[in-house]
């Protein structure tokens, strides 16, 4: 497991980009107290989804408006056609941890 940050460093509506100790950058989001993690790079073009627009359980790519469901990684519309991978997130002793390569529950 990769420690990300204390839970209070990632308040609701915010996202953080994780680059250390992961094979590819991961974006971790706080949606009303629930944490979600997906691959940070949009499958359409090189853009950081952690910079994107969080709306409910979806993030919109900051460049071309592709939307991804944080729970499943599925794109909901163009231009992206390929899902992003999801990663399991757990909170241990007040610290957000990432299980890279372990798909989140319910992911496609």
């Amino acid at each position: 497991m990769v420690p990300v940050c204390p839970t209070d460093a990632l308040p609701p509506g915010e996202a953080i980009r994780v680059t250390a100790d992961v094979p590819a950058p991961v974006a971790v989001f706080n949606v009303d107290g629930e944490f979600y993690a997906i691959d940070d790079t949009c499958t359409h073009q090189d853009a950081s989804l952690a910079d994107g627009w969080l709306e409910g359980c979806a993030v919109e790519c900051p460049l071309h408006a592709s939307c991804f469901d944080l729970r499943t990684g599925m794109p909901s519309g163009p231009p992206a056609k390929t899902p992003v991978r999801t990663h399991a997130v757990t909170v241990v002793d007040g610290v957000v941890h990432l299980q890279v390569g372990v798909a989140a529950e319910g992911a496609a």
């Binding site: 952690a50 910079d51 627009w53 900051p62 071309h64 519309g77 163009p78």
Partner: protein, 390 residues
């Protein structure tokens, strides 16, 4: 419940309308009519990745495996030539017709051409996949490219052509490029990027004529200068594809006139995307918007209107982007010429900044160059300040 909806236009707006119909559980027949032979594809990369050769045709495809479940009746490579209001029928160029209870007009726009250049080889516009294939073939031969018009298409083509090693000159009639969408000050800032990358920009210069017999050889400017040209790209705007509706009873006013909910004045007929001139409460008049996100989002409203259901979503803040010379330019909101422009992050000299347009002390638009994170925050803030549909 209607039994057939005809969607006229098979690009982003048309496909989005078809998807929206099914998303709203419309279970009748959906016929999608498109004048191009190609299945729906994404146009923004045509001036960028596709022209540069880093995207294939497959990369451009808008359709996904999930679309097969939509059960659409495709009529591709078929041009609509008329709409019979009384019989609610769309007439096609092949002599057939599609009777429909509801019609979505999504015929888009075409590139405006320079009069008198038809049939001159080496002169291109860029709107369709076929345009891009032809232009790329000419660019690969190298030489001198002259781009007429320093708008977004012109600037993107110039950028891509520089990347392919061509010598590029951009000619712009207006004293400052992009002054319409960005305002004079920020238009000037964005125009400076051309020189950073070795593209010559000649602003405030009209084109007198193209020189050449059979194939273009030069562009002659209004001031008498002659620019040698192996390839010319004309990027001087787009014209809505609405002539086919001239006798339909649908009101045309710089596009198909609609209310804020996409309804035309013919019952059962809605219009979306680049061909539609829709009432904008913000602007206080009907406006025709050519943005990609508009073509993606507006059909949701149009389909709700057609089916008599609540659109549910508030209209989005106008948003567009451009990519030139590796820079990502993003703009959201509705700008006016009297707005104050303030750079709130970065600097124009560094080609990385965020500028906010303010009216009466209130932010109305935002421009970001290589600032996607901050731009997204401002774009969201603009949206939360936007009034809901009346």
């Amino acid at each position: 419940m209607t039994a057939t909806v005809a969607v006229v236009g098979a690009s982003l707006a048309g496909l989005s309308a078809a998807r929206a119909l099914r998303a709203r559980s419309y279970d009748g027949r959906v016929v999608v009519i498109g004048d191009e032979a190609h299945a729906p594809y994404d146009r923004p990369p045509l001036s960028k990745e596709f022209l540069a050769g880093t995207y294939t045709r497959e990369d451009l495809a808008l359709g996904t495996a999930a679309d097969e479940a939509l059960d659409l009746d495709w009529r591709l490579g078929t041009t609509a030539v008329g709409l019979d209001r009384g019989r609610r029928a769309v007439r096609l160029a092949d002599g057939s017709e599609v009777r429909a209870d509801g019609v979505v007009l999504a015929t888009g726009a075409r590139a405006r051409r320079l009069p008198g250049t038809e049939g001159l080889a080496g002169v291109h516009v860029l709107r369709s996949l076929d345009d891009a294939v032809a232009l790329r073939a000419d660019l690969l031969a190298g030489g001198h490219l002259v781009v007429i018009g320093a708008g977004f298409i012109g600037a993107e083509v110039a950028s891509t052509a520089r990347g392919l090693g061509l010598d590029v000159t951009v000619v712009e009639t207006q004293p400052v490029p992009l002054a319409g969408p960005l305002g004079a000050r920020m238009g000037a800032v964005c125009a400076e990027v051309h020189a950073d990358h070795g593209t010559r920009l000649l602003s405030g210069t009209g084109v007198a004529r193209l020189v050449g017999t059979g194939r273009v050889e030069a562009v002659e400017l209004a001031d008498g200068r002659r620019l040698p040209a192996d390839v010319v790209v004309v990027g001087i705007g787009a014209v809505p594809n609405v002539e086919w509706l001239a006798d339909s009873g649908v009101t045309l006013q710089g596009g198909v006139l609609t209310d804020a909910r996409c309804a035309t004045d013919v019952p059962g007929v809605v219009a979306v995307g680049d061909c539609a001139s829709s009432w904008s409460p913000e602007a206080g008049r009907a406006v025709r918007v050519e943005h990609w996100t508009h073509a993606l989002e507006q059909p949701t409203t149009a389909v709700a209107t057609l089916l008599g259901t609540d659109p549910g979503t508030r209209p989005a803040v106008p948003y567009f982007w451009s990519e030139q010379y590796g820079h990502r330019i993003q703009f959201a909101g509705t700008r006016g010429d009297g707005d104050d422009v303030r750079v709130v992050e970065g600097s124009c000299a560094d080609r990385s900044f965020l500028a906010v347009y303010e009216r009466d002390g209130r932010p109305v638009a935002v421009l970001g160059v290589d600032q996607p994170r901050l731009f997204t925050r401002w774009r969201r803030q603009l949206r939360s300040a936007e009034p809901a549909l009346p």
